[in-house]
Symmetry: C2
Subunit: 389 residues, 2 copies
């Protein structure tokens, strides 16, 4: 592991964040949906908000200038990936992750817990931490919960996620309990690590598919008084009804006066539902990954741009959309780029899909501020899901 | 083949170009280098100018908005590739190539002569034209010289290139003579095809590595009075001294009052030399292709960004450069993107390399207007070639 940065002088400077990082600014009268402001050292994030995923310090195919243009407010990167390559100490040396990737807005880094479990080879989890081999070169590595916080101190990010232990869908109650207990213990240890003033640390609720376990874990984490809470370990293979039930029961156990982040989800129609439950923050690779595969999200459903039906289509991918892609190019052109495997096709689809997700968040902010969320949500979900191309 | 568009009504509308498409605005007092203005239906192109290559109706990895930002004035696309996929008639239906690719500046299309010879399978060249199989799906196709002009009428481009026959480096005099004679005959036939008012047609000088043949062909083409002339069939495998000699002897046989375009070259230091000979227009895949491979052109030479020496380098790729990439990102970050195979690395390197080529053209325009080209050219070439990283 890279050595933790103990000397304050070697830290990436972080402007001070205000004392209360989150405030609720509006609440829907017919749902748990709310608007808020999450104050970070690199700016205030209006919520509900979606975070474009920049796993390796880049949102795939999208420049920081384009991210600004589509209204991104905060991006998510990944401690595991950056620790493996190019190394958190190197990024610290170069002035921190913001300067490194040319993004001066807020950054949240996932702790790498999920990646260790999904990517790394020969992993061994003990109460101490996780021992594993890098998925890039097989190099043996070890992360304690404290290491993971210190890596994020090195990166100089705005929001630090604690190391957590994920269990697979279908894990037994005993396994889910053990992982939840360990996640709680790690959260306690993480909370004691000194971070740079201005950095916020969020805890992660695990508990598998056992709602009482999740509620109990949420309660215990809340007792540690974190600036924000995330819900992890969902959408990892369990059925959809379980995802929705777990998400809803867990958010109810988290304090309304803290931001609540549902990790790694999901489709646009599901984000509307999760906002209706009271979640504030989301991240997901779908807009960029599906964009690279020629799938575009639109107000009328998903569209596979490779289909022959788009060969002569002069319309933009989504006539309701005001992104650069839809303002400039026809479906016929996007199809041409996809069928010729031109890189620009992936870029333009990623820009559109991210804009679509971010516009959806802006729409929800406006709707919630006006009061009634549910009729709007029902109508939007219906339009999105009625015709799939 | 797609049917030629005979009805004027089905043509892509082209604003009228002024009667004299090219004027020389300055000439160096110590070299044949000159500045000019090439008036096209979509705008005036200051020369000397480099044309970014958009073979399949996209400059690989670069949006039209980014092309504008780096100062691109004209782009080059390819009749062969577009005829194969998605088809020139389809692009005409969709309003022409400008609208299709979202670029409202001038477009020149290569005729596809070179691509038929380098890409297509089972090609058979006769005086009639070229019969070949598409490199995409093996579909049998036939291009007459008239077809190729009509395809470019369908595309609605600003500058139409006539179909030519290339010979390989090392071709015998007899082969070079036959190809030159055929190219001349095709140019004569092309000249008789009615194009949309405002479209310019350029002829192409062939002649292999035989300077008397090239001079003779240039003279005969000039007798047909084309709005502009290109020199083709160089940098196809012959040695460098031959390229330079052929380029210099051929340009001397072309009229000073017409724009002169050297096709498919080259390295930045060579472009300086070719401008010194009196060439006005260039195109080359090197800025984008090398960019995708992690090679960046700089004022101090070429740089392989994958090298370990750049891992901790906080400097931009070229401290003298003002492009988005150099204003925003360090060599360390560009290296990280290259080593992790992130698409953004190819994009940022392509933007930088194209900006480098275009800035070089702007620098030459300024130098020529001031009068003395040679001392500046000698110094720039020396700096570019002294240290190769």
């Amino acid at each position: 592991m890279s050595p933790p940065s103990t000397a304050a002088a070697s830290r990436v400077p972080i402007p001070n964040a205000p004392p209360s990082p989150f405030e609720v600014t509006a609440t829907a009268r017919d749902a748990a949906a709310r608007c808020g402001r999450l104050a970070t050292a690199h700016g205030v994030v209006p919520t509900p908000m979606f975070m474009p995923v920049a796993t390796q310090a880049t949102v795939k195919g999208v420049t920081p200038a384009q991210l600004r243009e589509i209204g991104a407010q905060i991006v998510l990167s990944n401690t595991y990936h950056l620790a493996v390559r190019p190394g958190a100490a190197l990024i610290r040396e170069l002035g921190g992750l913001h300067r490194f990737m040319g993004w001066d807005g807020p950054i949240l880094t996932d702790s790498g817990g999920y990646q260790v479990f999904s990517l790394a080879a020969l992993r061994k989890v003990t109460d101490e931490g996780v021992r594993f081999q890098s998925h890039v070169d097989g190099k043996p590595m070890f992360f304690s919960p404290e290491d993971v916080v210190n890596l994020q101190v090195d990166l100089g990010v705005d929001i630090i996620m604690v190391l957590d232990e994920c269990v697979a869908a279908g894990a037994s109650r005993a396994d889910a309990e053990r992982a939840a207990r360990r996640t709680l213990d790690w959260a306690r240890r993480s909370r004691r690590v000194e971070v740079t003033p201005g950095q916020l640390m969020f805890a992660i609720v695990q508990g598998g598919t056992f709602s009482d376990l999740r509620r109990q874990q949420a309660g215990e984490l809340v007792g540690l008084d974190f600036p924000g809470y995330a819900v992890g370990g969902l959408s990892v293979g369990e059925d959809r009804a379980t995802t929705m039930a777990m998400a809803e029961e867990t958010v109810a156990a988290l304090p309304t006066e803290r931001s609540r982040y549902l990790m790694g989800v999901g489709l646009p129609e599901d984000l509307i539902r999760f906002v209706g439950m009271g979640y504030d923050l989301f991240d997901c690779v779908l807009p960029t990954r599906n964009g690279r595969n020629g799938m575009l999200f639109t107000s009328r459903g998903r569209l596979n741009i490779r289909l022959a039906r788009y060969a002569r289509d002069e319309q933009p991918a989504d006539p309701e959309c005001r992104c650069y892609t839809c303002r400039t190019f026809s479906c016929a052109y996007l199809r041409h780029l996809a069928t010729t495997n031109e890189m620009l096709g992936a870029q333009l689809a990623s820009v559109h899909n991210l804009h679509f997700y971010l516009q959806l968040m802006r729409d929800m902010q406006a709707v919630i501020a006006r009061g009634a969320f549910t009729p709007w949500a029902t109508e939007r979900i219906a339009r999105m899901t009625e015709e799939e191309a």
